[in-house]
Symmetry: D2
Subunit: 374 residues, 4 copies
Amino acid sequence: MCAASSVWGNNLRLSVFGESHGPAVGVVLDGFPWGETVDMDALHLQMRRRAPGQDKTATPRKEADLPQFLSGIQDGFTTGAPICILIENTNTHSGDYSNLKRVPRPGHSDYPAFVKYGGFNDIRGGGHFSARITAGICAAGALCRQVLLRRGVRIAGHVLSIGDRQDACFPETQISPEEMERLASLYFPTLQPSAKTAMEEAIQKARTAGDSIGGVVECAVTGMPAGLGGPLFGGVESLLSAALFAIPAVKGVEFGAGFSVSRMRGSQNNDPFRCTSSGQVVSSTNHAGGILGGITDAMPILFRAAFKPTPSISLPQESVDLLTKENVPLEVRGRHDPCVVPRAVPVVESMAALCMLDLLLSASSLPPSSSEKR
Amino acid sequence: MCAASSVWGNNLRLSVFGESHGPAVGVVLDGFPWGETVDMDALHLQMRRRAPGQDKTATPRKEADLPQFLSGIQDGFTTGAPICILIENTNTHSGDYSNLKRVPRPGHSDYPAFVKYGGFNDIRGGGHFSARITAGICAAGALCRQVLLRRGVRIAGHVLSIGDRQDACFPETQISPEEMERLASLYFPTLQPSAKTAMEEAIQKARTAGDSIGGVVECAVTGMPAGLGGPLFGGVESLLSAALFAIPAVKGVEFGAGFSVSRMRGSQNNDPFRCTSSGQVVSSTNHAGGILGGITDAMPILFRAAFKPTPSISLPQESVDLLTKENVPLEVRGRHDPCVVPRAVPVVESMAALCMLDLLLSASSLPPSSSEKR
Amino acid sequence: MCAASSVWGNNLRLSVFGESHGPAVGVVLDGFPWGETVDMDALHLQMRRRAPGQDKTATPRKEADLPQFLSGIQDGFTTGAPICILIENTNTHSGDYSNLKRVPRPGHSDYPAFVKYGGFNDIRGGGHFSARITAGICAAGALCRQVLLRRGVRIAGHVLSIGDRQDACFPETQISPEEMERLASLYFPTLQPSAKTAMEEAIQKARTAGDSIGGVVECAVTGMPAGLGGPLFGGVESLLSAALFAIPAVKGVEFGAGFSVSRMRGSQNNDPFRCTSSGQVVSSTNHAGGILGGITDAMPILFRAAFKPTPSISLPQESVDLLTKENVPLEVRGRHDPCVVPRAVPVVESMAALCMLDLLLSASSLPPSSSEKR
Amino acid sequence: MCAASSVWGNNLRLSVFGESHGPAVGVVLDGFPWGETVDMDALHLQMRRRAPGQDKTATPRKEADLPQFLSGIQDGFTTGAPICILIENTNTHSGDYSNLKRVPRPGHSDYPAFVKYGGFNDIRGGGHFSARITAGICAAGALCRQVLLRRGVRIAGHVLSIGDRQDACFPETQISPEEMERLASLYFPTLQPSAKTAMEEAIQKARTAGDSIGGVVECAVTGMPAGLGGPLFGGVESLLSAALFAIPAVKGVEFGAGFSVSRMRGSQNNDPFRCTSSGQVVSSTNHAGGILGGITDAMPILFRAAFKPTPSISLPQESVDLLTKENVPLEVRGRHDPCVVPRAVPVVESMAALCMLDLLLSASSLPPSSSEKR
């Protein structure tokens, strides 16, 4: 048996619960700042960006994923008590999942979860491993984003690639607040409109083939002050990467120039410092992605997360029967999402929002030392 | 002020201390299993792989980095009490570092650390941000490796690339114990001997140019049982990535096929299951890198960490004077390590060893349920 | 602002949410063992022991405090995923609480909570500080008790005193399973029937006077194996006391002979060891309360928690107006519970159950060392 | 096997290591505020209050317990990096301890530690369970006290009782800074000089009888601001009690009126609020011990810890032979400390200092919300 794993955080604490086909998914968010107003429209917008059924339609499913707040908010203000957010599962058709316990789907958690939980885990729709679980995380992230925005911190992501179709990268050193807010309000955001068209085509091809396709989400955080984070295990990269790899399907995370730093010389990679006319220290490039020695340097925080193609495909696959220990063919019927990447953008942003607020809350206000007080 | 950041772990707890030019660096390792013998020769071998001055010489510096054990070991066995490991700093020539507080070095933690600590941080040799700090982590990792090896778990890394010079990748599904142990005993391990030669050449070129160069370390863990880890924040990728990004200079981490999954179809990326003649469930490819849904599946755990070129270079650079807020040129004299990647291999392995032992310890032995006991 | 405080645990993780007059209270319990059956009748019995309105009536309020399980249980078995338990607040008449924000009630959290949360905390019925919050903890504890009972671990408490009315103490070294189960099923359990009558009288007197009265709960845990816990901060006393002081109104906690050890000689206090005929090591007294050096010794774990009289009384009191900074009289109308101690027994037991299961789960099953595996 | 237990803290993190007869004991203190001066004389004074051999002599053993600082301090200022403090064990005469592994001493951790660690624990002088370990905690506490004092927070304890000999209690609502500092500089502090004489007599009697004797330490913290701590598991009582029960020999902890609240009516126990002429909210009594709802209310924080008589006595005792499973007599030779309570006062204060600084650091400085920033 293994220790608890659905609890996250340092100053903020997030506790995640629910299964794909259970009555509800949700989170409890403890340590949230008090006296913050909650903008429900902004929150619902973020929920819609993650909700299913957005593709090729301007009308989001009306009732989809409306979060209920069971605690921690009174008269529109946060109270400082834990915030419980509940999202009911309204659209679950479980059918017969008994076969999945015997014949694990390749690429899914079925097999290792069977070993870990001795077969007792809820396997319907992936159970607690389902990406459905990220709905609650999006709601929590949306709350954090509102607090951050009031402090000038903005978070936005875009789909950098789907298969071999590429969007442009974020500019390294400067991203306008307007562009950040534009992206943060879109379903399937890209920097270049043409990139989105090309990507949709690639997704459509995968769907037609009964297959799925992967991609990369790039995310930026602007407005974070310098001096947050720390050396070693308190570094911003450690904090963010642990949160990002908690998103189902993420297999790679990189910051700033990322893997390409491995092909650089120091003279290329080092970001030269310079002073702005207002006396602010900035760097003229940002290969560091806003993080040096694990600490923010006030440049945009830039990172990328690679998503594998969703393992649910209609094509025939090879698996084993865990009971008879025989190799058996597997064909999984049902509607499959051929690409989770566009819907994953607000999830990536939400993880970033949770981390950024946790970092901001880590800056403590020790009262000033006073010799008179002796 | 920020929360503590030099403490790591769940079942194991590692507490890291020391500065590059202080009297010593070290760690306290709590929660270590008791009754384990400590093989000091094996431990010293791992320390030598990380120690400076290994290049182009078969003779390691005699007195280098010999760890002292201050607690937790008696008569050659671990006792279950915290293990304090101390490594004295014998070779520190501090000189005058006062200028560094005014003019931060590009690519180093100097500037954000100045902001975070109000200028009080020890900047000599990077202080607590120095890679010197990884000596204690290597000693802790070496202890963990011995416990793991007795349970059939092996950890080995190699230099996958330096600049554009590439070694082969680990075979995905099977790595022999002999190859694992060969790599785990070498300084600058590569799978292909020719790769090492090419890489040494690239490093030499960077050194001659007064520059530095980055690279990638690939690491494998074999022998881990299936069923360890968990969904969400308890996933093996979250655990490992947080530890890897704690290593100074790491800017990217990927598991299994990593970023390349973003260019794959599901039908390519999904690893088909099959049963071995002995009834073991394996997969015929291993794009998942041994981790599905955050849980080990008993295939080799494979991951890569990208290291930036060390920011210490002799070439002239641009910086700012934090006092006068003027742009100023910067030239840093002294011996510089043109590439940290070969020495980083045992550090990566040590982080993996800490994580793997933490995971093994997470498997709890709840007594069996017994109706008679009522 | 302060760090999150409604999250508890090591191997188990409990996250508590809700306010007295909000829509619901509840918990998320992560790390719970899988494959455990859930006995809903036994759980409801424990909920009724804590529910209000038990006094002087054999009929519990029928619909009171029926917990809903939103996750983590499927077909009557726990799945290993987090268990979310929700208990709706059906009986909330908030009325006008605005005065309480200005004039804090003595003995309540009103004043310090006002300072901490800048007046944003929900003050209706005490908000998140209400003892109502313990309903979810009781449900979580009831789940843990079932797992423990199947391993021969029993938990039972009784009301040791109300004001100056005393029950007998638990026998130190041996408590029969039957007595444990008798107590653990009662509302207002005492060892001696006459003690309960005397205590009820004292409570009735306090009620008539518009006043309230305090008391002590004594609790025992039998069947825990030796060797759980640890030195320093991992000790069983540290674990249990932190959980017990989390219960509103607890102001003292003691283990075994407790405060009376301070009046003893070592020769009196030391518990002599002896071997039973079956070769088990026991002690002939149990002043240690089953814990030596922070570790269980397999004797009954015995402890006491002192509860203050509930601060809600009808008598006139002195307070201040936080706005005008004037001293003002305060009279609080409404029904008040003159004594929380009887209802607190299952809460104390539940905290113990959470701690005991956390301890049992801490015993890890590191695979045996095997030289052949090399 | 059990989880790590020698690591403590939230914002501060303390990691404790060492054994009674090993080369050294010590701590690593992470998260300590930077830019704080370290007064070594004040620190040495605190170390001497805990050091052995203070009784009946004005001359402390000169070389005793001088802590070495291995990291985290530069030029007399803390740097923000972890502070490693080492205290060498100079006076260890181990002799033959092999018998103790077979015949556990009553009242000591010997037996449960044997079970927990399978006999591998270092039993010489109690190993990691020895009160010797508190030397490092005292050094860490002394550092914290200096930071606190500069913010007007004072911590002082006194011996409230030894056996049946009593000192006066702290006044509830007001303790002068001078009295706090007087007590905090004394070995064996009492409020009344006559109490100390009576207590010394009691200790002398126990010593002559080859026996030992217990007692109670009372401690006060003045100057803490209101609003620190939180509900449930974040309460100040939970934090402090977990730290206090980590001190070997503590079997009871109470706050404010403590166990006596159980005998009170609410009208007696509730502390009436009033406003001072300067507009400060205070209470005219302080049965709450400065903590309401787990949160500080700016009144003195008052608590008591009961210490059992040290289990090391010269009188013959009864034990068992763990090998032969026979009852055997036990006589333990050697010098024994007949009462640890006077030396425990600075340890109690140190635990309080760690907790108070952790609480002060928990008050975060989230930047103000700013609509313009949008």
